[in-house]
Each structure stands twice: as structure tokens, then as C-alpha cells.
Amino acid sequence: MDSEALASPAEGLSLPAPTSAPLYLAVGLALMLVSLVTSVLFVWAGGGLALWGAVGWWREMFPEEAKEFVPAQAESERAPEIVPVPGHVRNLVVGEGGHRVRLPLEYHPYSAGLKGGIAGGLAMALVAGVHGWLTQGSAWHVFNGFALIVLPFFGVAPGPELAGFHAGIALSAAVVHVVLSLLIGLVYASVLPMLPGHPRLWGGIVAPLVWTGAGFVSIELVEPGAAESIQWTVFIVLQIVFGMTAGEVISRSERVKTLQSFPLVARAGFEVDIEGDEL
């Protein structure tokens, strides 16, 4: 197929020829199906039409695909050649040579985010363990307490049994802890450098306070009374330990180019100054 020779494409093209065969086939098949709810006569009528359509279709395709010659549009009807638009494109000034590029240019590598998340998570666990050991005499108490915060809805009631080690609770808490730590590390790595001011302030203090507040509200709404069983000071301290550590690790990671001097939106890749117009 597609082998018809033309003198020149400028004169026209051959395209698949119009045909009523698909319509016949469709009507035939529909009639055959509708015979179920109408009359058995429709099977024969529909079958005949469908066969007619199928044969017609076959003849459209074999031995050669049926084609129709379509003359080319007159020159005046054709879309004119596209001409370059007058006016110009505003360029970015950040980046190489004032050009448009994917922004931001250089950042903390994602691995730094993961590392930061792990470091923060470990630091948090360490502090929590020491605190539990000093105050309650058992490092597991706080771990279970953490499980209670993260999984307050699986029926872990506060009580004396929290002092011991429970494989199930510890494991599920650990999984959630690790996942959350890694994810928050990633967010830190991508977002922290865009924020104005000091990244350690945002990552170490503001963010932990925000999510602690959100957590407090949610727990109180879902399970009134559950909030009482949580030592919120310890909780906040732990979150801040996480935030500081993760933020620190990430901030220290190697950045080829820092964009600290640009405003947030520019660093996010949205907007730029329009000082240098031309290349």
C-alpha cells in the first residue's frame, strides 16, 4: 500500500477512499444484537447487512487498499508560512548567560536529603532513648510512646506495659519513623534553600512546631484524651532535634551554586528579573 506514484506532492495526495462498508457492518451487527429484544427476523436482516459490509470492507483492503486522489489546496488557501513573530521573549537573568533554563540551577543533591532524614531520625531516636532511660528507667518507654503518637489509632493504650519492649509496636513504629524521616529529609533538601533567612531556623524550629501543632489538633479530634497521654514538651524537643540535625546535615551538603541572594519565587523557578533583555 501507500505506493501510488504521483508526479508531485504539490498536485495532491491519495488518501483512503470513502466507503460505506463500515456503516453496513455496524448496522448489521447492531440489528443482530437487537434481534434479542425485537424479532428473530432482525438476525437475518442484520446478518445480511453485516456480511455485505464485511465483504465490502475486505474489497476495500484487498488486494490493494482503495485510495482516492485529493487535489492539493490552491496556493491561496494554504496556511501561509509561519513567520517569526515580532517582539521578543523576555529572558531570565539567573543562570548561564542570561538564558532560559530549567531552574533552580544547583541544589542540594537528593542523597543529602535522605542522609539528613536518616541522621535526623537517628538523633531523634537517640535523644528519646536517653530521655526515657533517665526519667523512666527504660529506653523503650519513649519508643512506645512514639508508636502511640504515630499509631494512636491501633488501640495502643497508654499503661504500664509501655515500659517493656514489644516487637510489633517497635517494628511498626520504626517503619513509620524511617519512612517519615526520609520523606521529610527529601522535602527539606528541595525546599529549605528556597526559603529566605536562615534555613536552620525554618528546618530546625518552624517546621517542627508546625507539624507538632497539626498533630496535636488531629489527635485531639480523632481520639479525645489521647493527647493527654503524650508528653508534649518532650515531643517538641524531639521534633526540633530532628529538624536541626536534618537541616544541618543537608545544609552542609555540597552545593555547586547557591542562589541565596535571589528571592523565593526566582529560586522556585517561577519568576525572574527582567533586567538583561537581550542575550
Binding site: G87, H88, F153, A157, L180, L221, V222, P224, G269, I274
Partner: protein
């Protein structure tokens, strides 16, 4: 999981602080107020914001949290959108310039991927916990057993421990967990009492279970929530929550056989000799009919035809003369009796208190 059972028990016992009911009401105060005002008129608004039982209260609390989270997302994203559109609207004069073309930012994409992931993790955990806490597969100790059978288009309600059957009006004692077994005689229905519990489908060949722990006396409405045919709209349901001693009295009344009033002997005979008995049971007269509602204490119910009409003698006459007039498409046939016969029959039926 012993601890989870512990939690479930705590759940039922907790007296709900008034403060939270108030908070919920404040959430949509206008709607709620309207509901309260009309509740005594025999209907009222079955608003989710006026829970009178567990688990409806717990679901509302959970829902409020979800709504809050979604509201925050809504405000942030909608605000961004509005600000963007306002700020970057093209000026009326076209300067012919194209703005800077920015292809994307992996950091931003990562941020707005991971933050929703975190939200989903938290929401998922909360939701999982709620599901586990609110679904009970076995009846709690000391619960009241009720068997609910959905029919096209009415509810059969059986109290197996007390040995009687009624229809369309569920009576429950205050503070006691009722454990409902839901079954269907024909198609799928859905049992829904918005102020008391979520809905649960009533499915042929299956038994679903649901629990309700009423915390307030009164009458509350609900209805079938799964389209079940012509009269789906009039498959209404009423719940009466009584103080325990009132409930006991109601149970004792229901356990009685049907009253025999000498004045209605003719109507009674008519009932027993016509097709009525093929479908309806009147304990003490005929107990073979099971297709239609049990009529033993018909007049103890406030409505007729699953809430389609008020239950009084005049409407009974209407109903017997032409059921389609009250509830078009109802399974009850017009009996083609004379007016006198219908009057006698209605008289007898209205004596079944």
C-alpha cells in the same frame, strides 16, 4: 489484638462532652438549628451534624478532621490560583513580548509530591485506625439483637431475643448497644440512620452487621440509601430511642397477641378470609403471611407504608382502596373490595394497637 478490644469498649462508654456537640453544631449552625426546630414535628433533618449515637458521633469527629485538613489545602491552593490569575493577567495593551519560558523545577515537583505523600500517610493511618475501631464483627456482650430484613419497599424488624416482629419503626433502648443483622429478601437496599450510624448495605444471600449505641432519646429518621426500585424514595425508617424502662414497656406490648375487639369481629373475619392473610401475619389470627409487614400491632406505628403516610383510619381506608394512590408501584395490591368491606377492614385494622 487484646488492646484493640480494650479500645472498642472504651469507645462505647465514653460520655460525649457537650462541647463537641456544640462545636459540630457551630460548624453548620444554620442547618443544625433548623433540624432541631423540626425534630418534634415527626420528621426533622437527619443531619450528620446532629449525631445522637455512636458510631455517628465518632464518624462526625473523624469527618471534621478530614474536612479541616481539606479546608487548609483548599485555602492554600485556591489562594495560590487566585493570586496567580490576578497578578499575572495580561495588561490591556499588548506589548508583543512573550514572558520568560520556564520548563520546570525538579525541586518544586519533589516538594509538591512529598508533602501530599506525607498527608496521605497520616490520613491513611488515621483512617485505618478508625475503620478497625468502628467495625465490629461480633456482638458486644449485653447487646440487644435486632434482625433487619429489607423488602421492596419496607423494613422488617425482628427482635429475636424477645420473639416478635414489627416493621419500619425501630425501637432502641438508651445507652445499650444494639447489634443489627442486616439481610435482604429481594434486591440490595441500604440501611441508613444518619444521626445514629453510617449506612450499610442490605444484600441478599449475605448478613451484614452493624452496631448502634444511642445516647439520646427521641425519634430520628432515616431511609433506604441504595436504589432498590420504583418506591425507593418511600422506604423510610424511623428510630425511637427510649429510656430503658419505656423500652421494656414497649417490648411487653409488642409481645402480646393481637387484640380482639368484639365490635370488629366482622372486619376480623373479612381479614381472615380474604387474600390479606397470604401476605400479612396477625399473631393470634393467622401467621402464614410473610410477604408483607406484620400487622399484629399495626396501630402502635406512626406511619403507614414505610413512612409514605400518617397511620390513621382514614388513610387506612385510602390505602386499602388504592395503594397506588399513596405509594405508586407499591407491592400491596388493590383488593377490589366494596366500600363497606373496606370500612370494616379498616376498622378492624385500626383496633390492632
Amino acid at each position: 489484638m487484646s488492646s484493640s478490644r480494650h479500645r472498642e469498649r472504651r469507645f462505647g462508654k465514653r460520655a460525649r462532652p457537650q462541647a463537641r456537640a456544640r462545636a459540630s453544631r457551630a460548624f453548620l449552625g444554620l442547618l443544625a438549628g433548623q433540624g432541631v426546630a423540626q425534630a418534634d414535628a415527626g420528621g426533622g433533618t437527619p443531619s450528620l451534624f446532629l449525631p445522637v449515637a455512636e458510631p455517628a458521633q465518632s464518624i462526625l469527629d473523624y469527618g471534621t478532621l478530614l474536612v479541616l485538613i481539606c479546608a487548609v489545602i483548599f485555602v492554600v491552593v485556591m489562594g495560590l490560583l487566585a493570586l496567580t490569575v490576578v497578578r499575572f493577567r495580561a495588561s490591556a495593551v499588548d506589548d508583543g513580548e512573550e514572558p520568560p519560558q520556564i520548563y520546570g523545577s525538579d525541586q518544586l515537583e519533589l516538594a509538591w509530591t512529598v508533602v501530599p505523600v506525607l498527608i496521605v500517610i497520616v490520613l491513611g493511618l488515621i483512617t485505618a485506625g478508625r475503620i478497625v475501631a468502628l467495625q465490629k464483627d461480633t456482638p458486644p456482650a449485653g447487646s440487644l439483637a435486632v434482625r433487619v430484613v429489607g423488602h421492596q419497599w419496607w423494613w422488617e424488624l425482628e427482635y429475636p431475643d424477645h420473639g416478635f416482629v414489627t416493621a419500619n419503626e425501630l425501637h432502641l433502648p438508651l445507652g445499650q448497644v444494639a447489634f443489627l443483622e442486616l439481610e435482604s429478601e429481594d434486591v440490595i437496599h441500604s440501611f441508613w440512620l444518619p444521626q445514629l450510624s453510617g449506612k450499610l448495605d442490605v444484600i441478599p444471600n449475605r448478613t451484614n452487621t452493624m452496631w448502634i449505641e444511642p445516647q439520646k432519646t427521641g425519634m430520628f429518621v432515616g431511609q433506604c440509601a441504595e436504589y432498590c426500585g420504583t418506591q425507593h424514595a418511600n422506604m423510610l425508617l424511623r428510630v425511637f430511642v427510649h429510656a430503658p424502662e419505656d423500652f421494656e414497656r414497649w417490648v411487653r406490648d409488642q409481645q402480646q397477641e393481637a387484640r380482639r375487639v368484639a365490635a370488629h369481629a366482622e372486619g376480623r373475619a373479612l381479614f381472615a378470609t380474604t387474600a390479606c392473610v397470604n401476605c400479612h401475619t396477625v399473631r393470634g389470627l393467622s401467621e402464614i403471611g410473610s410477604f408483607g409487614p406484620d400487622l399484629t400491632h399495626l396501630m402502635s406505628r406512626t406511619t403507614l407504608a414505610a413512612g409514605a403516610a400518617v397511620n390513621d383510619e382514614a388513610r387506612l381506608v385510602d390505602w386499602l382502596t388504592d395503594p397506588d394512590h399513596i405509594k405508586p408501584g407499591a407491592r400491596m395490591p388493590a383488593m377490589k373490595l366494596s366500600d363497606a368491606q373496606i370500612a370494616r377492614l379498616a376498622g378492624y385494622l385500626s383496633s390492632l394497637e
